[in-house]
Symmetry: C5
Subunit: 354 residues, 5 copies
């Protein structure tokens, strides 16, 4: 039921480094490749099947954005990689969808890989997929695992407005990263809402289901942290390292996304500590409840055991039990029992057990 913690990459063990094997969930969908070329004068947008056959006259000041949905076909990735002259290690990393977020500096281009997040409110789980970005002077390549609408906003802006800023590839990459990181906030908000809801439930009426839900969210936080921690490093390096591919202006904006990632990390850590505290509360609640139950039991036992004993004594069948024949003995014993019961109740009252 639970998502796999560890993606199977064992099929790669023993293979020649550089062998292109897809690691990740297999998919039936056919990958789509979309090529958007634009400059100050206009934009062309087309879907292609075979990257090798795509020919376009190179043109200064023109930005080409290759966007691929679906990376499960090694042949396609290889064709694309050869078209764009990517290093074999980059192609390997694109196919291996269990990559740790990182940024790598190759000659003439930067390879950026990190995870995009999506929170599914029904299963209350966060799904993530790998986003690979290649930034060069002339083109941007973005590859995601599944079709999705995260970058629709960016595409629309390219069509509608002739923003001067997006005329550079680094600005386009920034826009893509920013769109992806914004979705972290959406996921975190929904998880945060769920956790606060759980917290209210915990303080009002904890049940065993509360426990497994706390565990569920702790697990989610572990997964999120594993994605966000290295993302922070990636964005930090993009902002700080003076790479000629990234202009000073874009660097200012990347600092802003970097701040967002730090903020996300802070929030994850806060939620983690909150969940740890909630577990403590849960365990204490269970103990308190046990205490109450046991107090109840002790009260009942302490009240009725002496009384039952007295009744038992006068139920004995000895021949010579003078009390038995005294006429006021029965009411006297009843009164004695009542007195004992009241005395015990008073004792419990004094000990604050009632």
């Amino acid at each position: 039921m639970a998502r796999k913690l560890i993606v199977k990459r064992s099929k790669k063990a023993g293979a020649d480094p550089g062998t292109l094997i897809h690691i990740g969930r297999p998919s039936d969908l056919s990958p789509t490749i979309r090529v958007i070329r634009y400059d100050r004068d206009g934009l062309s947008d087309q879907c292609i099947d075979d990257p090798a056959q795509y020919v376009a006259a190179p043109c200064a000041d023109q930005v080409t954005w290759w966007h691929v949905d679906g990376v499960h076909r090694p042949d396609l990735v290889e064709a694309l990689g050869q078209k764009l002259q990517l290093h074999p290690l980059v192609m390997e990393d694109i196919l291996n969808t269990d990559q740790r977020p990182k940024v790598e500096d190759y000659e003439g281009y930067l390879y950026i890989v990190f995870r995009m997040l999506r929170y599914d409110p029904d299963s209350q789980q966060t799904d993530s997929e790998q986003l690979s970005l290649v930034l060069s002077q002339q083109f941007v390549l973005s590859m995601q695992e599944y079709p999705g609408s995260v970058f629709d906003g960016v595409r629309k802006r390219l069509i509608n407005v002739h923003k001067q800023r997006l005329m550079r590839t680094d600005a386009l990459v920034y826009a893509l990263i920013d769109a992806a990181v914004d979705h972290y906030f959406v996921a975190l908000e929904q998880i945060g809402d769920q956790i606060e809801h759980l917290e209210d439930e915990l303080l009002a009426r904890p049940t065993p289901a509360t426990l497994s839900r706390i565990h569920h969210f702790k697990r989610e936080m572990l997964m999120l942290r594993k994605s966000v921690w290295p993302l922070r490093e990636v964005l930090g390096r993009l902002w700080r390292d003076e790479n000629p591919l990234i202009s000073a202006e874009t660097r200012l904006f990347l600092r802003d996304v970097f701040d967002h990632s730090v903020h996300i990390m802070d929030t994850i850590d806060t939620l983690r500590e909150l969940l740890a505290s909630m577990l403590d509360i849960y365990q204490s609640s269970v103990s308190i409840h046990l205490n109450e139950v046991m107090k109840m039991l002790t009260l009942i036992a302490t009240l009725f055991m002496p009384l039952t004993f007295i009744a038992g004594v006068y139920g004995m069948n000895f021949a010579f039990m003078p009390e038995l024949s005294w006429p006021w003995a029965y009411p006297a014993v009843l009164v004695l029992m009542l007195a004992i019961a009241l005395g015990l109740v008073a004792f419990f009252w004094k000990r604050h057990w009632l």
Copy 2:
């Protein structure tokens, strides 16, 4: 009931970076803009509605302090930003009131953002609001979310005394930061008092309510820590980085506020560890109490079960039970019961159960 851990910023997801959208609690109050201009010779203080229409002859050695209460109107922030020639990212950050404390270096000015704290003794919660400061050679801009009296002291000093120190913008910014940080101490003192009160209650008589109050304060500490930790970095950078906007004299004073923030952080950490220790104590108290209750139950059961059994034996209706007809059997059984009871009490005494 509990304050929201995570401010909704999802409405921003997908928006063009640089779009000005207010993120935070909506407010009905109309923002007020106050412009104070002063130099060694005098001071003018006026409230304005539209920053675009405010015209004032620039004048060397004159300091202009723009102070805004309320940042929920994007149009106003934009007008002000254009008036003062602020970068779009700064305007965006001013409107996004869930900003992580930071200091950012722009050409010609510094942008400082952190949270101001207020402890509400009734709800026993700390409220915080975002304070944005812009420091340039000629003016200081301060924007807070809600009207408040934190900076009244600074304003009074401007009117009454012609302090040479406040003649520089950096000194004015320092005065504002110092006033805001001083309120952290006020909040911490009140929380500290509450926690010590809770500690006394815990050691004297813990109740389930104690537990949820410990949790409440742990949560408060998580929130505080999230605000103060980056504030420390902000003040550290202001003090250490040699920025031409900040004089060496002011830097000495900023080192002092920085020390305050370290002190606040230490106190928060100490309170956190104290709360963790209190939770341990609470859990042990619950266990100790359970032990006492169970000891009581065991005592009672161990005392009366054998006695009731003996009574039961002599309540059996067998025809041939010779003891039943012996005249001294009844007193003998009573004495036996007493002996057993005394023996058990002695046993418990020896085991330190009484």
Copy 3:
């Protein structure tokens, strides 16, 4: 039963540093030495007994790969060390199979030592063995403790393909490291599967055996972490330090293996935290179960103690108990008992104990 945490190296205490003593599990197998020489034109592969007697004309551009299975014979290691002119400390470290992973820079060669991992699904334990690598301009020496098939893939590639990349010793060393590190993923996947299986078992039906299995995996993680943490440092140094023995091209590939080791470390930490969370869940489950059991006991006792008491009262043998002779008394008492029982059940229902 459990593997030894600490390898006995006490027999070395007091010995002259540089004395060659084997530390590790003794072995009956006779070590095998395999020498593979290859260049662009072809490859020779032979097994030898005595390294001292092996003579081969040195030849530029030819790579010699010495591979040894079994390091438990100090004489052999010494002969090999003298043949290849290794420092006495290197020979000592090869023999001491409890070495912390490290990379050491000697004149003319690099000494790299780390652990290879193998997960045994039957005993559910990870076995590890020490791999020593020596990289010089002309030769590569690899020594592992036990025979194994980890490097078969590398050997096959040497035979089949005349890869230009493997023509350098650094590329061969990279291929060996990569093959060894890939096996970490295989081991981790199997452990991860086991842990997720255990997690499902924990949430569905925890037993005391679950507890000792959680402990078992925590212990495994401790051992793994002890191997992987320094491995990360080793790979980081290999990639970052500009050593003339390692070309820039190979460095790119080493960065990739380094990323793998970071990823492995992240996964180990995630599994550790998951196990910690599972233990918390386990402890809470035990408490919840205790609560249920006690609630059951309390219900039963609270229900029957008063009833038994009433029965006891009317079992007393007093002569004057007028109720006894009333004809409707018996049914009345039965009705009273029923009423009490129903009342208690209603009480429990209201308290959510049923």
Copy 4:
């Protein structure tokens, strides 16, 4: 009862920075100012009331040591500060006795502030007070909150021996710091003794009082840590920074005190971890005790419930119970009861419950 965690400094909030307000426990004692001047030829020692009126011919090679007991009178501190030309921030920090330990570099002098420790064996609490030191080329100023004998040893050495080393102000400051730090060891030893005593008590016979004492010492450790951690930084900076006021020879001695502070920190951390371990032991002890109690209860209940049931059966009043009239039935039932009891005891024995 418990000492205040947080010193009230709220009365300062809103005040002009630089305003001199005393923060700390008010005191009735009148502060004393003692001025000791000495050179190689002799020493003068006098108590004065008003620093402003003290006039002394400046004299090369003469060291002046101003020592003040009591800092609760702002006017006095101000007079002294003006006499010695101290920065307003230094005066403010001297008056604010809740200062975090620090060393600050002003023009011409160093300001050092940290806490002195005193362990009160009666209340088993550590008291601390703030020590402010000012080191310049000509004079040393030391200000402590309460009168005490910590520096008597230093004063005696000045009188008795004409130590060449103390002829410099930096050597005098070192002597004062060394005397103060030595008292940390005294306090730690006494606390350590108490904790080891508590540990013996815990292992022998834990009581609820043990718990609150563990909490008490954890709290003490929190307070100590808060004082010692920054003290270490202070001493580290004094030793490492090459300040012209401190000679190389004195620096060697300061390194020694620095080592002491690291040692103190190590000891505090060790004690903290020991206390954490003691709390674990305590909680386990409580659980073990509960187990014993419950085992006792279960034994008794399991033993007597079946027996009482059998007795109950033969106490029933059915007309046709043939066993009742068999002559050997009574002894047979007694034997049956014995057999059941022995069988249960054997069962418990086998389960190691006895």
Copy 5:
């Protein structure tokens, strides 16, 4: 019983820094001073009483090794210090046997101090003593607290072999450090064995004694960690800092000992975490056992309480209880009781309580 956590050094408080006072366990043994002089041609070995009277012609290329057993006589240490021209602080540190491990650079010599370890299998405690080493160009001084055989191996090597390496003082110091550090492994192995033994006991049959033994080893680990952590720093500095007293060749060997210390630290941390995990297991075991006990109790009570109640009902003495006179009522009630008992057993079976 337990070893003192904190060595009494309070007698030093208030003393003049530089006063020579022995801090540590007093000893009755008379210290022995052994002077070994050797060069390539031969070796002289003699025990002396008064270092001041020892005269030996200085001789190039000759190494003098002063070794002292017992440092409890301040006069002796002072005499030796003056003979070898040591700084007063060094003499003070030699006498203060509660020193934190450190290496200090004085003019012309290095002062190294750390702790030697010995594990006593009878008391299952590690004893430690302070080892002070002074390394100069001409001589080596080693001072340990108690007589011991740790350095016998080094001495033998000096006599038997004319190793070229030991002809330098730095090589001799390395040999001494290596011999001392090797004994850490011996101690750790024995503790590790004990802990694994305890782990087996824990999983098989935990007793309260197991708990106090876990605590005992946690305490041991705290003490060891306090010694080893700074030792690592010491060895790291000896290896890394380019000190003219230590040759490049010896530095290689020191790197090897440094690696050992890191390995020791790793092992201590692993053992610490293992002990923490064992404590968790212990606490869970106690809870599981409690659960079993309580289940037993609940089973018994649930089984017999209803039956006893039924027996009680028919033991009532009402005149009109028609069932009593029905001939088949008694067997019917017995059958009813059996049915109830079987039903409850089935219920427990279904709930997996049996």
